[in-house]
């Protein structure tokens, strides 16, 4: 090609300056659009917090209760965010001057969320604080504050096998009820075989709904698993616990399957050992949140040392500084909340990173299986206070609660 470099014009630059000014001046003098489709979708899916009212309460076995929520327009929530199956909501509660949060899986279907309904089911927990408070105090008409639907316990067709074995225990049935409905409604497209462990038939939550869903669609199947010794043998259910053998019995042969597990910590401890025997690739084993850790010194690999029983936690939130006394067996988050100070939280299991804070001074310990921090957090003191235990006096900078 010919060399025409010297023919490039030199005066273009000044013309450009003028041309640009003229072009900018010619723009519409009205305020620029405040939104676009991307921003609308982001806001519709992630409003941050939502305000709701309890529209009905239903009794479930064993003192558990189901709460149906509808948007509270008066407090500014016109419509609920769409809830894909498997997501949870974080509930904010004010108890004796403390602002606390707890995650609960959404038991209602994605289609329900489009009709502006969410349902969560809560089981009483021995010594439990928030769950029992909700059961005791929430009634029809109670005003509640909740997060948007969040979490990673969802079905991902590009990652998960087409066939899924679900393992549920206790209140861990809730996301599976949502999955089963989503399958029946066409919002999800996979085959789910659910192994649902309970003491006996009477202790099962949503038994009728689940059986009806299994009737309605071939893609959903339920296997009731009863652990009580005095349950008679029968073809209608399995007896005992969810073991590797039981999983194998219901797993497809010669093709991959994913395991989705949701239940109490005690169930994870048992089932995880069983799953190891199956030697599945990690990609095929998905867990819902582990749950909040308690009693640091009883957790595996707690460091050796002479740690004080109580520590002083200095908390900076925006322009405020608080001094809090913390028990060394409580997480930093629990100690701060107990002093009546609200902190940001969603999963309370170390996973979501929403509580990310920066330790400015002091020593701490994080159980290894709950340490989901980013790599750079370690050198810069970044922690997730919901799973971090103090080992000495601590100074920490915490984002504003929201």
């Amino acid at each position: 090609m010919a060399d025409n470099f010297n023919k490039l014009s030199m005066k273009g630059f000044l013309d450009n300056l003028k041309g640009r000014s003229a072009r900018l001046a010619a723009g519409s003098p009205t305020p620029p659009p405040a939104t676009d489709t991307s921003r609308e979708i982001a806001r519709a899916l992630h409003p941050g917090v939502q305000y709701a009212t309890v529209s009905s309460v239903a009794d479930l076995p064993d003192g558990a209760k189901a709460y149906e929520l509808v948007p509270d327009k008066i407090r500014g929530t016109e419509a609920f965010a769409f809830a894909p199956a498997g997501k949870y909501l974080t509930v904010f509660a004010e108890i004796n001057g403390m602002t606390v949060t707890r995650p609960y899986s959404i038991a209602s279907s994605p289609a329900d969320s489009c009709r502006n309904k969410y349902m969560i089911a809560i089981k009483p927990v021995e010594g439990g604080f928030v769950s029992n408070y909700i059961i005791d105090t929430w009634k029809e008409g109670t005003a509640v504050k909740i997060s948007d639907p969040t979490g990673n316990f969802d079905y991902q067709p590009l990652r998960d096998a087409q066939k899924v074995i679900g393992i549920a225990g206790g209140s861990g049935i809730t996301p599976f009820l949502s999955f089963a409905n989503a399958i029946a409604d066409g919002d999800e497209d996979f085959e789910l075989t659910l192994l649902y462990g309970s003491r006996n038939e009477k202790a099962e939550l949503f038994r009728e709904e689940l059986d009806a869903l299994a009737e309605k669609t071939e893609k959903f199947r339920i296997v009731h698993v009863y652990s009580d010794d005095d349950v008679p043998e029968s073809d209608g259910y399995e007896k005992g616990f969810v073991t590797a053998d039981l999983i194998k019995k219901y797993a497809p042969e010669g093709e991959p399957y994913s395991l989705f597990i949701c239940g109490p910590q005690a169930m994870y401890n048992f089932v995880d050992e069983e799953i190891k025997k199956l030697d599945l690739p990690r990609k095929y084993v998905r867990h819902e949140l582990f749950g909040e850790p308690h009693n640091a010194s009883s957790i595996r690999n707690y460091p050796e040392g002479d740690f004080p029983a109580t520590v002083c936690i200095t908390v900076h939130i925006q322009d405020k500084t608080y001094s809090v006394t913390g028990n060394i067996n409580d997480t930093i988050m629990q100690s701060i909340e107990k002093s009546g100070i609200a902190v940001p939280a969603r999963c309370r299991s170390g996973e979501c990173g929403f509580c990310h804070s920066i330790v400015l001074a002091g020593k701490y310990w994080i159980p290894e299986n709950l340490d989901f921090r980013r790599l750079a957090d370690e050198p810069f003191g970044g922690v997730h206070p919901c799973v971090t235990f103090p080992l000495s006096d601590i100074e920490i900078d915490v984002p504003a609660a929201k």
């Binding site: 010919a2 010619a26 990609k283 940001p344 929403f354 990310h356 920066i358 504003a400 609660a401």
Partner: protein
């Protein structure tokens, strides 16, 4: 009453740099961020046993003389300590051959039109280009030479407050050259020095990093970027961008600055025709003499100010400019190693045609353009994932409101379709199998970026650096284009557009101006 010398709104790269410089100069500085962590685009996230880099493909590495490149030097200067990893290669461009097109079978067994694996080093790069397109060596070296002479100009522009054309004319060598190319596009200049079209295609592969194709992008800027990358390769923080952002957070605190996270500025309050306070989360008011804003002008005007607060000419300006591209990214954690996968490069550009303008035209059509950048971080940082695994990061660009017609309910399905198409395009172009090994996947579409960056259409790139709105004219009009003398914008919407370096530069510059105004008692 809470009162600061400077309030910085937004802790993206621009805001972090501004706050660091202000705090280090001893100003009472408050940095406000609506999210719970710093960085904006510059962050990372964890899924299972993988930690994904959210945005960084690469930063220009060492300068051609072997001293640390601009971003590394800036961070050092701001007191932010980061461990760097150098990536001594540039990119590979793969253009699969269409059925009726000439092509050859490459080492992956794929029939391609072009497979260009470009080395770092100016001469090595030119030699490789010449090997691929005989007769392109001289024009390539010539282009790099023009690139070299631009340093003086860049240094000058970086150090002065108000650039003067007559100063440049008198003092900067090579002005004639700069004046000659200053108003010309990449394509015009490469044409003028006789670079063959196919070589131009390979030479302009990085256009996607700025979102502007060769026929619209100013040569001067492209050459500066290209020159740095090719001369010495790229740099990456060892622990993802989160490391850079946390290092800045620490530098700001060490210098006595305050940072509040989960603290969104919801309103700017005015006094005597100028901003004098911000309202945070609709609750708390903080006063300040000066403000530096990392929010995007269009949304800042409409969300934070009253209609009469802003001179109409700023509305005109915002409306006249075009919003740059939006990105869509797929993050993949695979349960095989990159060797098992057959991935030997760090950056691979896959394109339906080597011509950047054709790639741009395809991207204007929305998703499915076939233009994808694939990065395998393990090539640069082998231990960035646990043993036996690797991570991939696929990026494509779109322009305009591509989400129109997608309901929140359909959004996830839509996302998965877009991601599936992107993964399959990569599999085909590279002759590899990815799908069966996906252990973790996260997909970010424009709404994801809208959520995290708060920019129009979710763009991380600011206003399009189209020839008419290119860097030099932005630079010469900088002061006139800030809405108040105590309220300066920083970030990708400013002079240099997108990029880590551009955003840091804008922040340091606005901080410099603010410090000067305070010292002069303005």
């Amino acid at each position: 009453m809470l009162k600061y010398g400077v309030v910085v709104i937004g802790a993206g790269n621009g805001g972090l740099a501004a706050a660091a410089v202000c705090a280090r100069a001893g100003l009472k500085t408050l940095l406000l961020e609506r999210h719970n962590i710093p960085g904006g685009s510059a962050t990372s996230f964890v899924r299972g046993r993988y930690e994904f880099e959210t945005s960084l493909h690469e930063l220009v590495g060492d300068a051609p003389d072997g001293t640390p490149g601009p971003v590394m030097a800036n961070m050092e200067e701001m007191g932010a300590k980061v461990r760097w990893v150098m990536e001594k290669s540039t990119y590979r461009l793969v253009v699969p051959a269409a059925e009726n097109e000439d092509g050859f079978i490459n080492e992956d067994g794929v029939r391609v039109k072009i497979d260009a694996r470009m080395p770092a080093g100016l001469k090595a790069f030119a030699r490789k280009l010449d090997e691929l397109v005989p007769g392109s060596y001289d024009s390539c070296i010539r282009a790099f030479e023009i690139g070299t002479t631009m340093y003086d100009l860049f240094n000058y522009l970086e150090t002065v407050e108000k650039p003067s054309l007559s100063y440049i004319a008198k003092n900067i060598p090579g002005l004639a050259l700069i004046a000659r190319i200053g108003s010309h596009t990449v394509k015009e200049v490469l044409d003028s020095i006789g670079m063959p079209p196919k070589a131009q295609g390979i030479f302009t592969t990085y256009w996607g990093y700025m979102g502007v194709p060769a026929s619209k992008f100013d040569f001067l800027y492209y050459m500066c970027m290209m020159y740095y990358y090719v001369a010495n390769g790229a740099a990456m923080p060892k622990l993802r961008s989160h490391e850079m952002s946390l290092a800045m957070d620490r530098a700001i605190r060490d210098a006595g600055g305050d940072i509040w996270y989960n603290s969104e500025v919801t309103k700017v309050l005015m006094k005597d025709g100028k901003p004098n306070a911000v309202v945070i989360n609709g609750e708390k008011t903080v006063y300040a003499d000066h403000f530096i804003c990392n929010g995007f002008p269009n949304f800042v005007y409409s969300d934070l100010f009253e209609k009469n607060d802003i001179d109409k000419k700023f509305y005109s300006m915002a409306n006249a400019r075009s919003i740059s591209c939006s990105l869509t990214t797929v993050y993949l954690g695979l349960n095989i190693t990159r060797e098992q996968l057959g991935m030997h490069d760090y950056s691979i550009f896959i394109a339906p045609d080597e011509d950047s303008d054709k790639q741009y035209q395809a991207a204007l059509g929305g998703f499915g353009s076939g233009f994808i950048v694939m990065n395998c971080l393990n090539t640069a940082i082998p231990d960035c994932t646990p043993e036996g695994t690797c991570q991939l990061f696929l990026t494509t660009l779109t322009y305009g409101d591509v989400m129109r017609g997608v309901s929140p309910r359909d959004y996830r399905k839509y996302k998965n379709e877009v991601a599936r198409d992107m993964i399959e395009t990569c599999e085909k172009a590279l002759g590899v199998s990815i799908m069966p090994y996906i252990e973790e996947i996260e997909i970010a579409l424009p709404p994801t970026f809208s959520r995290y960056l708060n920019t129009p259409l979710g763009t991380p790139y600011g206003y399009m650096l189209d020839m008419w709105d290119s860097m030099l004219p932005r630079r010469f009009n900088y002061e006139k284009e800030q809405p108040f003398d105590n309220f300066l914008f920083v970030g990708a919407s400013q002079e240099r557009g997108d990029g880590y370096g551009s955003a840091y530069y804008s922040g340091m510059k606005a901080a410099g101006e603010t410090i000067k105004k305070i010292r002069e008692g303005k």
